[in-house]
Symmetry: C2
Subunit: 412 residues, 2 copies
Amino acid sequence: MTDIFIAGVGMTAFGKQLDRSLKHLGAEATGLALADAGAAQRDIEAVFFGNCVQGHMEGQDMIRGEIVARAMGIERVPVINVENACATASTALHLAAAYVRSGAADIVLALGAEKMFSTDRARMFGAFDGAWDVHETEANRDILLAMGEGVAVPEGTMSTQPYSIFMDVYAAMSRAHMRTYGSTQAQLAAVAAKNHVHSTGNTLAQYRVPFTVEEVLKAAPIAYPLTLPMCSPISDGAAAAVICNATGLKRLGGGRDRAVRILASVLQTGSERQPTDYDRHVSRLGAARAYELAGVGPSEMDVAEVHDATATGEVIEVEALGLVRPGEGGLAAERGETAIGGRIPVNPSGGLECRGHPIGATGLAQVHELTLQLRGEAGGRQVAGARLGIAQNGGGIVGVEEAVTAVTILGR
Amino acid sequence: MTDIFIAGVGMTAFGKQLDRSLKHLGAEATGLALADAGAAQRDIEAVFFGNCVQGHMEGQDMIRGEIVARAMGIERVPVINVENACATASTALHLAAAYVRSGAADIVLALGAEKMFSTDRARMFGAFDGAWDVHETEANRDILLAMGEGVAVPEGTMSTQPYSIFMDVYAAMSRAHMRTYGSTQAQLAAVAAKNHVHSTGNTLAQYRVPFTVEEVLKAAPIAYPLTLPMCSPISDGAAAAVICNATGLKRLGGGRDRAVRILASVLQTGSERQPTDYDRHVSRLGAARAYELAGVGPSEMDVAEVHDATATGEVIEVEALGLVRPGEGGLAAERGETAIGGRIPVNPSGGLECRGHPIGATGLAQVHELTLQLRGEAGGRQVAGARLGIAQNGGGIVGVEEAVTAVTILGR
């Protein structure tokens, strides 16, 4: 199969950017990715643009990518507008790679951009409602929340402030994991503390404040066992990658020594299963396929970026990816195995919990991090000698499970 | 390049279907396409799902395709949610073809589904607002409407009922065409009358009532020179196509003799130009590329389905596609050249004006029509001996021109 390369990456700082438009964010990330690839606007033969909430937030849907492309001076080429809930940017990457492989283009752009912050908090948190089947929200929510039964919720551990319904689901998933495997709230805190320490090395992260396990446990509660530093925030931001084949790489000149290969890009949807049937977890299915395509196994991974929308997300995902044994996602963090310097560093960027989670951009932010890591350009957060990296990016709920997971394996 | 085939097509009746959900419409079109291709759900390796307005209409965005796929019993495969305003379904087709060509799958589904009707008329017509740059709507609208200056608007020829802003833009485009080429309102009426006569042969069309030129001219005004039968209606509906390579076609068994080839699928965005600079019209650029890819010319086309969101749309598009001489799109209809039995039949299905325009489904409805025509299965509206067909599907406005046009050439 044709080799597909990441010739360059770029991303904005993630955070609250009320004064910047989607065009500004998209243009900045694209400009950085083009410069990183040694490419100009005219080199881009197609744009795969991911965004989720601009329709909900400001009535802009349908042609979001064309608007951003025009603002960036990219004209006359195919522009594809993609959505896949929190896995949107990985979907853009998946399509970009397939498009180049199809022979339709040599050099294309995958871009994810999202503006979520608003002074209208109800609208802001309501943006997540569309990531469920709106005709089944209550029925599915009840089934998902029932997962958490059988584990006592201590008094005063549920926030009274508005937050996304997804945090209640993650809390129920956390308690189900505690019940099934005997995992603990302290283990979740270890995941979060590790990611917050990692984030101090990432100048683009939304939060860059180190936390101890004790500080995470004592922080403001969201929904037991989750506390605030265990949860990804609302974010604005954009991330981009220039994707090409060998011909494209040659055309860009000089980039080959820094190019990273896409060894596998898998999009996996689920099928009916019980929420705690971890063996049929959508990420387990997707990862199995990705390892097969890449011809490598989980033990060969040097670094991982996974979808820690909460610390529990990281726990479940590192297990599903086979990076740790079933039930030991939290324990691995407690033991330091998933910290930079450990056996398999996870979320050296700080993850969604600290880097932030502009949902249509996150998948490409993960790819941005892995690309820097595999090129040895991650500075103070560099994972020594990283040659193979894996990213997992999940999104939405259909029925009672994740709607989609994207698993990407990159290599030098 | 790998041959890419349409193994089967299916579509629902278009029209007002308040009691049916997006899932029902999508499942019906898919079931028909699968049956037509001799395929089962388990044969489908990826789904490209197009929809534009469900976020606006009912808060459902992000994972629309996964929801519909699950309702259809298609599980565990990649599902891609695509938007591109009124060119959404053609974009799904474009991606489906590229995905198969990339080697990622042998058999995939392209599906467009849209529910637009609502008892809330303000919300219903507001659905089109997202197809503009919402931060520039007024400035761009003023420039576009100024196109129509210099042609007098007779009294009583502007509707006072609510309608889509796009009809005002099309009215201005109509008057600019009249001013530039001396085309007439009667020519536009000839286009509409021709399509309404065509529609009487299409049992899936929203309107199947023949009109004479005089009846079109005397009908209720929308925005001069447009009257009601010259304008596409609000519609609900879905259309689907099973796309595959030769391996897939073999696997499906027996379909080869009916398979239609995709000779070209081009997505074209525009660049800065004056609205009346017809030589640089986005469809002219897209068509030139499509003819080049297919290795055929406009004179070889046997049948066309073009984006007659209004009769003026058809006039401008048949000129841009090179099917008639510049300025003669209306004249060609008046002369009967674009009617079934004429030199180059255009919109034998009745077009958007009569078949209806569920915006996320229209591109695949055009492909449905061309596929039937090229297979000789179009019944009373069959274009005799059709071997090559072209579809053009446009969408949205960026700056002051069409955001995107899709040009597809099919052949036996």
